[in-house]
Symmetry: C2
Subunit: 638 residues, 2 copies
C-alpha cells in the first residue's frame, strides 16, 4: 500500500521529465551563443626551419613578410630536424615526412578490432579514450571555452584519421617477459591518414599509440590539430625492461586521484613499473580486512587510506596504460605506526621502539619502529598483510620487502629481544643480529609464498648493511631476491658493494640517490639547513645517469633497469606533479633509449615534452623561460 | 517582422521554463539522496593538551580510554598553548579562552554596516564572501560531496555567529600612510557568539576578520566548525608598513587567475604589496592601446597578455583584500622583446642588443636588450607606456623603474650610441655612461610625472652599480627614489653599499637574494649545474632574515619593509603556489611581527598555517611528514 502510493509521484515525475527534456531541446535551439573570448591579435612572427649555426636545423622565429598566416611554432617543431618531438626517442625512425594533415579529434577513429579478445578490445577502448582526451586537452579553445565543442572551421571537418592496431598475441597482463616493441607507419591521401601500429602485445601497441600522439600538435595559427602525414617506419623497443618510479605514500598520504594522474604521466613516457612504497614507520594507509587495527592505528585519518578496491583499481588502471603496479611492505625496519595494537589482541608486542625517544638513538629519522623479531606472532600478522596485499595487487610478480636501515640499537633496546638473542647465541654480537635480520627476510619470503601460493615471485630488497661487499651472497639467495641499489654512483666504496652484489648473480634495479632521488634539495624538516640528500637533482643529472656505469661491463646484464624515487617527507598531492615531472621524463629516456648522448642533445625535445605534459594536465616544473622555447637553441652556454 | 517572429519561440520557451522549474522542485522532493562516501572508521586516538617536556603545552596524541569521541587534533590546536594558530602573530593577545562553540557557516553573518559609505559596504561584502568561501573550503565534506550542502546534524544548526565591524574612517584606497591596526573581541552565550572588530580603516578591519578566521577550525570528530568563543582583546598592527611579494610575469607568463590566487594567499598572511614586475627583456605582456606593437612584438602569444581591464581588475581585487598592486617597468636594461618595431614606425631603433649574440657579452642571461639612450624618441614611447600603466594601475603611489644590471658593453656596441656619446663627452669613459644611465632615470621620472600628472609618486630602483658605496646620492635624489636592496646580507661589501644608501636618506625595501629570492636551488637553465642563486632558501632562512640587520641601528628607520621575489625563469602557473607558499608566510610573519625569536619558535604554527593555506586551495609546498603535524614537537634535532 505504502509502495503503491510512492509509485504515483514517481510516474508523475517521470512524465514531466519527458516534457522537460523536450523543452530543453527547444531551449538549446534558441539559447544565446556560448560567450566567445576576445578576438586574438595577430603576431608579426612566423617560424622557419633553418640550420643557422651548422649544428642542425632549428625552428627560427622571424618577422613575417606578408599578412598571411605563417607556420606556427608547434607546426614547425613537428617538421623541423631529425629528432623533432618524440620522447623517449625510438630505436629507429625511417622516412618521416614533413607534410601535415589538418584535422579535428572527432574524426580520429580506430579500425576493426573485433579479431581481438574481449579483454584486449576493452583495453584498446579505454586507452583510446585516454588518447582522445589528450587530443582534446592540447587544444586551448577546448579548455578555455569550457563547453567541449570544437570551433574549428569546416575546412578540417572532413579529414579522417584511422588508426589500425595489429596485435599478434592475446597477452593481457604485464610481466617481466612482456614484449613491448612496436612499429608504426603513416600514409595519407587528401581525405584521410592511415596509421598502422603493429606489435606482439597490446602493451607494445599502446606504446605505439603514445608515439603517434607525439607526431601531432595544436596549430594556433589555424586553430586545429596537425599531424605528420607520412612515415615509413618507426621501430621501437626499450633498452631496459624495468623502468619505474617509486612513490612513498606513508610519510605523506597521496590521494588515489593523484596516483592515477602519475600513472597517466608514466604512460606518456613509456615507464612501466610503479613501485608503491605503500607503508613505512610514519603511517599504514592500506585498509586491512583481517586486521583492521593496522589502519585504525596506523592511518593518518579515516579519509587517508587505500581500500582493496582502491588498490585493485589502480593496478587495473596501470595495466591498461602499460604500467605494472607492485607493492612494497618495507620491513623489518621502516614499520611502526599501525603495529602498536598487538597487546590488545594478546599477540604481544609486534613492534619495538615505536615512536621511541630520543629518535636519534634508534632510527635515521622520526619516528622509529622495527618488527619484534623475538615475537613469532609477527609472522602471523605478516602472513595476513602479505595475503591481502597479494590479493589487492594481483597478479603479483614482484614483491618489495624493503629491508633497509635496520637499527641494531633499536632491537637491542628491547629486553624481550635481548633475552631471545641470548637464548639463541652464546655470545650476541652485531653479526648475530645480522644473521637474524637475514633469517627474517628468508622466513618472510617463505611465508609470502605459502600464504599466497605464488611460487615464482621475485623479492626485491634495498641495499643495506646486509648487502655490503662480501655480505649479500652470504645472507640472501640471488634466485629469490633482486637488489635495488640506492647507494651513490659517485662513491667508490658503494660501487664496490654493487660490483660484489652483481658478481654474485643478483639482478639489480638502479636508484642511486645522487641522481634519482627526487625529493632532495629543499630545507631540512628536522632542524634547519637542507634535507639530507641535497642538493636538488636537476633533470640534466637525472638524464645523464647511466645505470650501466654502476658495474663492470661483464656484469651489466644483471641490471634490469632503474627507478627514480620520491620519498614524501616533504611532498604530497600539492607538489607531486612538479617533483616527478619533467625529471621522470629524463629518467624515462635514459631507461628506454639509453642514449649515447647527454642532456644537451635532448634539451630542445625535453622543453617541448614538458609543455606536452602540462597540456595534458600534469603540473610539471618549468625548466626555462618561454623565450627559450620560442627561440630554439639560444639559451646555451659557450 | 523578423523580430516579432523571433519573439514567439522565446515566449513559448519562457512559459515552458516556468513549468520546468515547478517540475524541478517536485523532482528534488523525490530524487535519490546524494551518494554518501563510505562510512569512516573510528580511530583509537584523541588529543590532550599537555606540557610533556617542560617547554610548554602541546597537543599530545593518546589512545582513547573509552568509545566516546575525543578531542580532535584541530580542536586541540585551537585551545592548546599560548600562541596557538594565528599567523602572523599579533602584537598582543589578552584573555583568550579555551571554550569552543560549534557552528555551521550559513549561520555566520555580519552586523549592521549601513553607516559606512557604499564603497566600504561593497568592500565588506566582497571580503565577507571570500571569508565565507574559506569557511566552506576547510570543511572536507563540503568539498568531497561536491554539492555544497552542509550535512552536520541539527545540534549545531541554530548557533549564530555575528561579526560587527566598527570602522572609524572612510579610507577606501591603500596608501603608504594607511593605518592597518585593528582590535578583536569575542563574547558568547549558549545561542550565539559576537565578534567585534574595531579599526581605523577598512583595511585594518579586513586584517581583523582574517585573524578571526584563524580562531576557528574544522572538527573531524563532530563534523562541524568550532571557534574559540571568548577573547578579551587582540590588538594588532604591523611592524613594517611595506610587506610584499615581487612577481615576474615576463620570463614566463602567469595567468590572471593565478595572480588573483596569489593575492588571496597574500591576504591570508596580511602581506600588503604586490610588486608586479610585468615586463622584462623576455616578453612584454602588457596590452598597449597607444602602441599595440609593444605586445604584438613582445608577448609570447596572443593569449598571454594582460589587458588594461585585466590589470584594473587585479588592482581592484587586491585593494579589497588589503593588497596594493604596483607596477615595475624595468629599464634601461631588462627590456628587449616588444621594443623592436621602432624602425617600422620611423621612430628609429628603440632598443639595442635585442636578442644579440653571443649574449654573454651583453647581458647576464639570454636574451639581451637595453633602451637606446641615443634616440630621444624612446621617451615618447616611454611616456605612453607610463601613461597606460598609470591608468591601469590607478591610483599609483609607487612606480618601480627597475634600473638594475645595465651593461655598458651593450650600449657601447651600438655605433649610434657611441657616436652620440662622443658628441657629448670629450673622453667617453665608464663614468660617462654612468652619468647617462643616471640621467635616464631622472628624465624618466620627470616624464612620468608630466604625462600622468602624479607629482607625489615615489620611484623605486633596484640596487645596481649606480648605488654602490658613495654613488647613490651622486646619481639619484633620495626624495624621489626608494632603493630596493637585492644584494646579499651575508656579504660585508654589499652591506657597506646598503649602509651608504641609508645614510644618504633613501628609504629602503629589503629583498636580499640570499634569503628572499624564492626561485633559487633548482637546476641551471643555461648549461647544467644549479641556477645562479642556489641553494634553495628554506622557510627557516626566510623567517630568520631580519631586515633591520642590513644597516646600523641609526638608519633602521629608513627600512620601510621588504619583499620576497619570485623570478620566473623556472616557474609558471604550474608551480607558482609551491614556490611562493608557505615561504611567503615566513616572510609575512617576519615583516608583520618582526619576532625576537627564530623559526624554531614558530615551527608548530607554521606547519598548521601551511595546512590552512592548502585547505583554502593554495598548493603550498609540504614541509614535513603528516606524522609531525599529528605528533607536535617530535620532529626535532637535539
Amino acid at each position: 500500500m505504502a509502495m503503491s502510493e510512492n509509485t504515483k509521484p514517481g510516474l508523475f515525475v517521470g512524465l514531466l521529465v519527458v516534457v522537460c527534456v523536450v523543452i530543453t531541446v527547444s531551449i538549446i535551439v534558441t539559447r544565446d551563443p556560448v560567450p566567445q573570448p576576445e578576438p586574438l591579435f595577430s603576431q608579426p612572427y612566423e617560424y622557419v626551419c633553418q640550420d643557422v649555426t651548422g649544428s642542425g636545423p632549428r625552428c627560427v622565429k622571424v618577422v613575417r613578410t606578408d599578412d598571411s598566416n605563417g607556420t606556427s611554432l608547434n607546426v614547425c617543431k613537428l617538421t623541423c630536424g631529425e629528432r623533432r618531438l618524440i620522447w623517449p626517442y625510438p630505436v629507429s625512425v625511417e622516412g618521416m615526412g614533413t607534410e601535415m594533415s589538418r584535422f579535428i579529434p572527432i574524426n580520429v577513429m580506430y579500425g576493426d578490432i573485433s579479431s581481438h579478445s574481449t579483454q584486449i578490445q576493452d583495453f584498446i577502448k579505454e586507452n583510446w579514450e585516454a588518447f582522445k582526451g589528450n587530443l582534446e586537452m592540447i587544444h586551448p579553445d577546448y579548455v578555455t571555452n569550457g563547453v567541449g565543442e570544437w570551433t574549428t572551421s569546416d575546412t578540417y571537418n572532413k579529414f579522417k584519421v584511422y588508426v589500425n592496431f595489429i596485435i599478434k598475441t592475446g597477452v593481457s597482463t604485464i610481466s617481466r617477459t612482456t614484449i613491448e616493441s612496436y612499429s608504426l607507419n603513416i600514409s595519407s591521401t587528401a581525405e584521410r591518414s592511415t596509421v598502422t601500429i603493429e606489435a606482439i602485445t597490446y602493451f607494445g601497441a599502446r606504446h605505439g599509440l603514445e608515439t603517434f600522439s607525439q607526431l601531432l600538435n595544436y596549430d594556433a595559427e589555424n586553430n586545429c590539430l596537425q599531424m605528420i602525414n607520412s612515415l615509413g617506419r618507426i621501430y621501437d623497443e626499450p633498452f631496459f625492461r624495468h623502468r619505474g618510479l617509486s612513490l612513498d605514500t606513508s610519510r605523506n598520504y597521496i590521494p588515489v586521484k593523484s596516483i592515477k594522474k602519475t600513472i597517466d604521466a608514466m604512460a606518456a613516457n613509456k615507464l612501466n613499473y610503479f613501485h608503491w612504497h605503500i607503508t613505512d614507520t610514519h603511517s599504514f594507509p592500506f585498509k586491512m580486512e583481517s586486521w583492521p587495527q593496522m589502519h585504525e592505528y596506523g592511518a593518518y585519518s579515516p579519509r587517508q587510506v587505500y581500500s582493496h578496491k582502491d588498490v585493485s583499481e589502480i593496478v587495473r588502471y596501470g595495466n591498461v596504460r602499460g604500467v605494472k603496479v607492485y607493492p612494497e611492505l618495507d620491513s623489518p625496519a621502516h614499520i611502526g605506526n599501525g603495529w602498536q595494537w598487538g597487546p590488545t589482541q594478546e599477540l604481544g608486542t609486534l613492534a619495538v621502539c615505536v615512536n621511541q625517544e630520543p629518535w636519534q638513538s634508534y632510527c635515521v629519522e622520526p619516528p622509529c619502529g622495527q618488527l619484534n623479531i623475538a615475537n613469532p606472532r609477527i609472522y602471523d600478522v605478516l602472513a595476513s598483510v602479505y595475503k591481502e596485499l597479494a590479493d589487492a595487487f594481483s597478479p603479483v610478480q614482484y614483491f618489495h620487502f624493503g629491508g633497509d636501515e635496520v637499527s641494531i640499537d633499536c632491537w637491542n633496546s628491547s629486553a624481550e629481544i635481548r633475552d631471545w638473542m641470548s637464548a639463541k647465541y652464546d655470545n650476541v654480537t652485531k653479526d648475530s643480529y645480522f644473521d637474524e635480520w637475514a633469517n627474517f627476510h628468508s622466513r618472510s619470503m617463505e611465508i609470502f609464498e605459502n600464504v599466497t601460493g605464488i611460487t615464482d615471485v621475485k623479492g626485491i630488497l634495498w641495499t643495506s648493511s646486509l648487502t655490503e661487499a662480501g655480505m649479500a651472497a652470504k645472507y640472501l639467495d640471488p634466485e629469490k631476491f633482486i637488489i635495488q641499489i640506492w647507494t651513490y654512483q659517485n662513491n667508490n666504496d658503494s660501487l664496490g658493494d654493487v660490483e660484489d652484489i652483481a658478481s654474485k648473480g643478483f639482478e639489480l634495479i638502479i636508484t642511486n640517490a645522487d641522481a634519482w632521488y627526487l625529493d632532495c634539495g629543499v630545507g631540512a624538516w628536522v632542524g634547519n639547513g637542507f634535507n639530507w640528500c641535497s642538493p636538488y637533482k636537476p633533470w640534466q643529472t637525472v638524464y645523464d645517469n647511466n645505470p650501466l656505469l654502476m658495474v663492470s661491463p661483464e656484469y651489466r646484464d644483471k641490471i634490469i633497469g632503474g627507478e627514480a624515487a620520491l620519498w614524501t617527507e616533504q611532498a604530497d598531492a600539492q607538489t607531486l606533479d612538479s617533483k616527478l615531472w619533467p625529471r621522470g621524463a629524463a629518467l624515462a629516456e635514459r631507461l628506454w633509449s639509453n642514449p649515447n648522448g647527454t642532456w644537451a642533445d635532448a634539451e630542445l625535445r625535453m622543453i617541448l615534452h614538458r609543455q606536452r605534459l602540462v597540456e595534458r594536465g600534469i603540473a610539471a616544473e618549468r625548466l626555462q623561460p618561454q623565450w627559450c622555447f620560442e627561440n630554439e637553441g639560444l639559451c646555451y652556454i659557450l
